[in-house]
Every structure is written in structure tokens, then in C-alpha cells.
Symmetry: C2
Subunit: 306 residues, 2 copies
Amino acid sequence: MIAVDAMGGDHAPEQVVLGALLAAKAGVWVVLFGSKDRIFFLLNQYDSSWQKYNILISNTNQQIGMGEDPVKSFKKKMDSSLVQAVQSVKQEKCKAVVSAGNSGALMVASVFILGCQKGIERPAIIGTLYTGKKEILILDLGANVNCRPSNLVQFAHMADSYARRILGIKRPKVSILSNGHEEGKGSILVKKTFDILKEESNLNFIGNIEPYGIFDNRTDIVVTDGFSGNILLKTLESVIKTFNIKNYTIANHGALLIGINGCVVVVHGNSDSQVIKNAILFAHQNLINKEIFYGICEKSFASVAT
Amino acid sequence: MIAVDAMGGDHAPEQVVLGALLAAKAGVWVVLFGSKDRIFFLLNQYDSSWQKYNILISNTNQQIGMGEDPVKSFKKKMDSSLVQAVQSVKQEKCKAVVSAGNSGALMVASVFILGCQKGIERPAIIGTLYTGKKEILILDLGANVNCRPSNLVQFAHMADSYARRILGIKRPKVSILSNGHEEGKGSILVKKTFDILKEESNLNFIGNIEPYGIFDNRTDIVVTDGFSGNILLKTLESVIKTFNIKNYTIANHGALLIGINGCVVVVHGNSDSQVIKNAILFAHQNLINKEIFYGICEKSFASVAT
């Protein structure tokens, strides 16, 4: 059962409800959190026989806006679709949550309600970039706009675990996004993280990487703060969209909020029903991996250098 | 007369010397700073009759590597091609300098030797992105990886002056690069800059912009710190190169280091001779604008909020 934040996103609830319906038609069980009347109306509009699929509606009375302060909105809006959807995972009613809403609020709710995994201070949004040749993991794509070196080091460890356990890469190459590939290039944050990864971690750290290096497939994992990662992601997507480039995908199914005790899938605010559907299927797929991933990783994360 | 740092860049001196030769053939007077023997050898190799063009060679005995610390290398290597090329502008032997070398060192040399314009604490690399519909100014593209709000505010004022005086835009739209277009989104740096631009400046400030907004031509000027700007630039260039996209150019002629008392053109380290040639022609063109730009701007920069 996947919890869906029906009221979150630029095109919510319309596109979210439609996406959930499509996922239900593909066989996934979904619970839509939001205004019961509105969701009911939309489902009837889309398909009068929607009740033969596995869709439940859980009424909520509040809504967190895209521009709202994450911490404040979380505290004030406990009966929002976003918070209640996350709550349902804690209560083990649902096994995963999908939201195209305020990603900062989703992170806050996930941390407060579900908690971070051992050894992890902040979760990160991890995305997969398919360059045409290979899959490259990038994190953080936007959960943490202000980061400390210890956050980035933990992101590296989480992605390393993910690459090894889920993607089957034996010794994943880890790099930091920077404005030059040479050692010594980068912001204060990059330089400090570089030193820790080089000297104190047992990861296969290959140093700084520029965007060129990502597209040249020189790495398996790119670590960055959520601000720069978000700029990279959105620049890529803008160009891909503008020029209608095929064979190049990033996070077209949402991205995992890694480091949380539970499966939380973050979807772009501007997503349409097709992306929402894919995100729900992706969350469902992640559940299959969940035992492998979360089970083993909890041990390895506990030893992460901070 | 344009000073060219012949030893700076990933493909220096070969591609730089060839680029300078091409620019000289196009009618620009150039002075190549670097190893006299090496430059002489290359010029003879490229064109045995090179001496009929206006090319001078100024011998220097040191070289600043791409990965060297900007401040240290500047202080230790006063007889480097980069420092001597900048020095020649101060001495009024040359009217502009072009370098594909260590951009941090170029900035440091420019600030120490030529000085910043009144009211400007740090210069910025300003580039022009042509989206197919219009030209958009972006700064900083990499001169300042760690910025304060006052730096970004000054970048906004410099770009505003440039857009009005040089591009002829009456009331340029100014925005800050952020991870969301809503007010309240962004890093600590973005939020603080947002407040100053909104409340204390007389600029036509339109708020946060995401990469999508740039490609949708919603702005004339994008202000950002040099780290994020560099990631945006290189992500764009990587995709453009990978997919061989036409009709989309950014900084293919080098970019102006704006805010300096003098014309300093920064070129990508990995540039080939064609880009070097274009950068020299661009510097030459900027000189024509120099009187208009620097003359008027010195007054307006002096009133920049800091």
C-alpha cells in the first residue's frame, strides 16, 4: 500500500489523483491523502468505474503550500495531506509515501515522524542519471540547501551502500561536484569534504568532478549539497526539455529520500500524471529492495564518519 | 594591443598561440606573454610568414598551473605569463588581457594589479547565454566560489549597468538563481541577497529564478555565486557538447571579468584555438565599448549598496 499526498504539487490534486489512478490500474494499492470530496469528484470524472481498483481515500483538512517554510508548516499543519501520508508509514498502514509537494516539508516530516537511520544527521534526495552509457547516482538533489561537510560525507556513504547493494557495483567510484577537477578547487564546503573523504573514509574516492566528468561517465556517485545538486538537475532537465532530447533521463520517476527509516519518494512539483504514476511504481519497486537495502545499510550507516 | 597569456590553459601554449595568430590575421594587434623560444617555435611551425602580422612576444619565465592556489601563485610568480600579461594593462602597454589560465589567479592578479572599480569588493565573470530568443547575462560564472550577500548585490548592479549601457535594455529584469522560484526558497546566501535586492535596491528585481525560468526567457540577468554559476555553465556546456546542440551558445568567446579597472577576458581552460581567437576579438570589441561602459559605470558602481 502506497501513501500518496494528493494535495501536493503544482498540478495537485488533478494530476496527482490521475497518476494514482493509473498506478492503481497497473496493480498497485494506493491511499490518496487529501480532500475527500475533491478526490472523489476527480476520480469519478476520470473513470466512473474507478472503485474496482485498489484506491482508498483518507480525508485531511490542511494543505502545505509549495513556498511555505518547511519547519513551520510541518508544525502547524499536522492534518495536512503531506504529514498524514508520512504518518501512515510510521503507523505501518502504508509501506511507502509519494509526494510532489513541498520537498522541504516532506523532509522535515520524514525526519520528525520516521526518523533518520543510525549515523545519519540529514537525509538526501538521491537521483539516478542515465547518461546513455551508465547510471550515475547524484545526491543531494534538493533536500538540504545548506550543508556541512559531515552531511556530504554521510551522503557519500549512503550512496556507496545503495550502489553496492542495489545496483551491484562492487567498488563504486565516489566524487564531489566542484568547479574544477583539480584538488584544491571548490568552495569551503567542497574542500573540507574532500579532505575527510580522502583521508578518513574507506570509500573509493576519486576526487572532484565537474559536470563534464559526469557526462564522460568517470564516476558512479556524485556528492553535492542540495542547492548545487538542484541547480544541476534543473539545468539538465531544462535543456532536455527545450531540445526534446531522448535517451537521457533523470528522476523521471521521482527520487528516493535516502537515510530515512522508511521509503519516501520525492517527486518534482511540476510533475504530470505520468510522472506521478511512475513514482508510485518506483516506490513499489523500492519496497521489494527495502529488506535488502535498509536491513544491511542500517549497520553500515552506523559506522559512518561524522 | 591585446595581451595574451600564452602559457595559460589546458592546451597551452599550442592552442593559445594558434588562436592568437588567427586573431592577428583578423587584424588585431596581440602580445604573447610566455616562453619566447617556445612561442617562436610554434609560430614558425604554424605559419612561416607570421611576422607579417602584428604579433609581439614578451618573454616570461614562470607559469601558473591550473590547480595552483590563486593567491600563493600570484605572490610567488610575478614573472609568470599571466601576471605579466595583466601587468602590461596596468602599464598601459596593452589595452586588454585574455587568459585561459587559472581563473582564480587571473582574478587575484587583476584585483591586486588593476584594482576593483569604486563600490565593488569582488569582480565577477559575466557571461552571455543566448537561449535562441534572447541574450541573458549570468554572473558570477566562477571567479568567487564563496560569496557574501554584498558580493551578489554588487554583481546585480554591475550586470544592470552592463545590460543598460551595452545591450540597451531599458529596465533589465534581475533575478537570483535558486532551487525554487518562490520567495523563501534558497540557501542562506540567496535569502539574504533576496531581502537586500527586494528592499534596498532600485533594480528591477523579479525574485528567485530556477534554470527553467532562464530557458523560458523570463529574466535579463541571473545573479549567483561563482560555484553555482560554474556548475550551471558547465552542465549546460556538457549537454550541448554531448548532443551537439546548435543555436545555443554560452561564453564561446570568453567572458568579461566585470568590476575591474581594465578589460580582462577569462577563457575556459580547455579552449581550442578558435575560442582563443574569438576571445581576443571579443576583448577588442569590448575596448570599443570601454569608454561608454567604464566611464559611466564608475559613477553608478560607486553608489552600489554594500
